[in-house]
Amino acid sequence: MKLTVEEKDMLEGKYGEGIAAAMKIQVAMGETFEAERMVPITRAHVALSAQDADLWFVDKLLKLGAHCKVSPTVNPSIDLKYLKKHLFEIPKAGIDIVSATNEAYKQIGATLTFDCTPYLQQNVPGFGEVIAFSESSATPYVNSVFGARSNRESSQSALCAAITGLVPEYGLLLDENRKGEILVEVTAKIETDFDYQLLGWCYPELYKGLEIPVFTGIKSRPTPAGFMNFGAQLNTSGAVSMYHMVGITPEAPTVEAAFGNNKIKHRITISDQDLAATRERLCREPGKIDFAMFGCPHLTIDQVETIAKTVGERKFAVDFWVLTSSLTRELADRMGFLDVIQRAGGHIIADTCIDVPPCWQPYYGKNAVTDSPKCAYYNEIRGIKFKIRPLEEAVEAAILGEVLK
């Protein structure tokens, strides 16, 4: 790699050991992926996880004197106080690691958003902006929906980028690597946000390769929640960091533009039958449930509104959890949705993830309902059996205590 004089100084420790440590990792990554140079970033998002390795790494950089040049937003942690009051007290080891992680990220200069949807609020990039985003729902969203440029960063490499303010230039940062290779003709009727959950899960089941897919046949622009669901499932069921939707996403005004000079390597059709088969495999049989959980990724205000309108004056028969950002929770309060959901016996918890152990321990091994395949998949390891249904149907199930169909 060709480094500027300043970058060489950073690597050699002239600006401190913290910057040198981050730079050393980034230069080694750049050499591995044959980047020619480093380029500046304007934004970063780190998938904080409050697990051992996460804390160890941020602590190590802090001790070396690192501080973020570009303050990154961060993924959810755990709202310990809320859970203690309303569910159970997290074991001490869990409290210690969460508190220490939060403090370490604050000290290193992160912006403590504790939200996995930075692309909807607080950290929204523009077209062509070079950024370093980790988090599975975020990378496809920023690349595909906005036309910003981020590689599929690991949480550690995104933190290094935040510290140096630079990334090695390879992969999705380069024009020629952003063109499609797989043509996906969607004949299935795609209308609701839930249809995008299924479509996003289905595509990597039909094609395992990492090439960029180009979706055609989608009639109208997805809602922000639709795009969010789609990317989250594409990048959980598979490892899709970018896609095009012809006539909808900014780098795909036409099929020709989406493919550029690339030939179509494979053609795939996704029909109503394919989506029905995915639904059949994934969504589980009807039956009794012990609780309901939504917010993987964190729900938007529109989704919170849908829940409030669906439940109305009725009451939930089971524990009911909505996970969202602190801003959306505040907005839900202002709009009266929080009141409706609380009166029905439900919770809106901010800053928290469905997947940070041990925060949902009382539910391990139980039956539940959610609208998110990603939520269901990550909880398999804890023996929680999630039935997956569209949001309104799942809310009805929580009112009955049972998924009827």
């Binding site: 990554m29 390795a53 996460d54 690991s154 949480s155």
Partner: protein, 134 residues
């Protein structure tokens, strides 16, 4: 002395150990942290131990959170592999190897793949970019 094969450094370092070959991609979250035993169901290495060996595999798999946490816990218990030889590099595995300072290489001379057998002792010199079968 055996023949030396060229390779390209990802993460620097030197290791001399027995090689263990996996046909499948490896996720360190599904390796028992106390022992180094692979516990992933239906995995090529299911029931085998990677601790103290040089692991040869096509690639890594899994998110940065799980991959890094898995390798970190193995390292803390001194059950980590001593080195890695991979075919397809991805940012998650590469950053994990760099951060936990496990020597790792890719782009190995194709001749090496014809000769290497599971259980052979090798020297992996990632810093200088060569592998020797002993």
């Amino acid at each position: 002395m055996g023949t030396k094969f060229s390779c390209k450094r990802i993460s620097e370092g030197y290791a001399e150990a027995e090689v263990i070959i996996s046909k499948d991609a490896v996720c360190y979250y599904l390796v028992e942290p106390e022992t180094g035993l692979v516990v992933e169901r239906n995995h090529d290495l299911e029931g085998r131990n990677i601790a103290g060996k040089i692991l040869m595999m096509p690639s890594g798999k899994g998110s940065s959170v799980v991959q890094a946490d898995g390798l970190f816990k193995l390292g803390r218990n001194q059950k980590s592999p001593l080195g890695m030889i991979i075919e397809h590099a991805d940012p998650v595995l590469v950053s994990s190897a760099l951060i936990f300072e496990v020597p790792m290489v890719h782009k190995v001379d194709p001749e090496f793949y014809k000769l290497i057998k599971d259980g052979d002792r090798i020297i992996l010199n990632a810093t200088e970019g060569w592998i020797e079968i002993l």
